[in-house]
Symmetry: C2
Subunit: 235 residues, 2 copies
């Protein structure tokens, strides 16, 4: 029962170490300081359980988890996050094997909750922080869950692209782009021009605002997309 945990913040790492030493005894503990290191160490020591901070330099916790699960699918993974962002839940959902055990705990969790999550995952169960229960629900709700096409469009307008630019980048017609946007607006519940007698919105900006508010996107994610799409454009 080996445990690996990765976090770039000294303070959080210390907290986690103390916590695990006291409460989950007799497990060898290993520390990593970023995502890259976590992956390398995991492959070497083949831990049963991995704690990963989401926000880490070099390699995000999500991507680290992806690589680790690729090589060692039976590893238990517990994500640590400061935020209840839906983006991450989305991504995690994709990379975790259907029968895999994983946990998602927010950093403001109590010590007991972390221990609980730890025990659950070690015994093959999942543990989801109460604070993101509703987020999980939303990702499984038909009416509000975005398709990947809609999500792509959302990212693009969030970066400030025009319909025309999006069409070029994604190899679509402008009509297709507008079609995606239309259904995106509908799913986010943004009233159209005719509807809703008083409040008038610029749907494009409103969509960005709501998406941010719901944690569908966040600045870090967008910056990565910007780098990706920008590079494609330059070529």
């Amino acid at each position: 029962m080996t445990i690996l945990f990765a976090d770039d913040e000294d303070r959080d790492r210390g907290w986690l170490r103390n916590l695990l030493e006291e409460n989950v005894k007799d497990h060898p503990l290993h520390e990593a300081h970023d995502g890259q290191e976590a992956v390398e160490m995991a492959i070497k020591i083949k831990p049963d359980l991995v704690f990963l901070d989401i926000k880490m330099p070099n390699l995000s916790g999500i991507k680290a988890a992806e690589q680790i699960l690729e090589k060692l699918p039976s590893t238990g993974v517990i994500m640590l996050s400061n935020f209840s962002d839906e983006v991450y839940v989305r991504q995690l959902w994709k990379i975790v094997p259907p029968d895999g055990a994983f946990g998602y705990v927010l950093k403001n969790a109590s010590n007991e909750q972390v221990v609980e999550a730890c025990r659950a995952v070690l015994s093959g169960d999942c543990w989801i922080h109460p604070g993101i229960a509703r987020v999980i629900q939303r990702t499984q709700n038909r009416a509000t869950n975005l398709t990947s096409a809609e999500y792509e469009a959302l990212v693009c307008i969030s970066l400030g692209m025009t319909d025309h630019t999006i069409a070029k980048r994604l190899f679509l017609t402008e009509k297709a782009v507008q079609s995606r946007l239309k259904s995106l607006y509908a799913k986010l519940g943004i009233p159209g021009r005719g509807e809703s007698n008083e409040t008038e919105f610029n749907q494009r900006c409103r969509a960005v605002y709501l998406a941010n508010k719901r944690g569908l996107i966040n600045q870090q994610e967008l910056d990565e997309w910007e780098a990706k799409l920008g590079a494609k454009a330059g070529a």
Copy 2:
């Protein structure tokens, strides 16, 4: 030399207490758990130094600082923040008396840095975290520093309002709104339609993206504005 510190997170509060006990000896320490409590305690015990987390329930650290400085202008204030958001620096700049001592430290600061900031403020100096030096610079640069009119416009489009809606809310003509937006775009360095041969942007959304990226605005701030402006609209 009394010290008061306020933070809603148990973990951070414990960290701060230990740190101060060990390094800044012989000062009575007082804890508050939110902004409101911090203000009340400050008025009672009249501390020489106050640590305030920016993100707190009931009353934000900024607002708490404002109220404390109103009653006790000679209090030294050190803000603790997770982020290097320009919004907060903007706001802090306004409420701190010109000759007041204050500090701004990010939460990922080392223990030494916190002690250093503490000592500086106690002896009447300011201490600004290295990570936000450039942000401070920008707030004082003519070409990039937004006027309050431009900032208002920025907030409004970030919330997803149309020109027309903004005009109504702010009691302006649409032309005036567009005028504000135009200079906002210019200051953010967003190329217009004709310029910049290839890259085409939807300036409105692009402005929101860049403003978020630079920390001019953030979700929490926007939510507060939304509540404020929404209420005004309902009346």
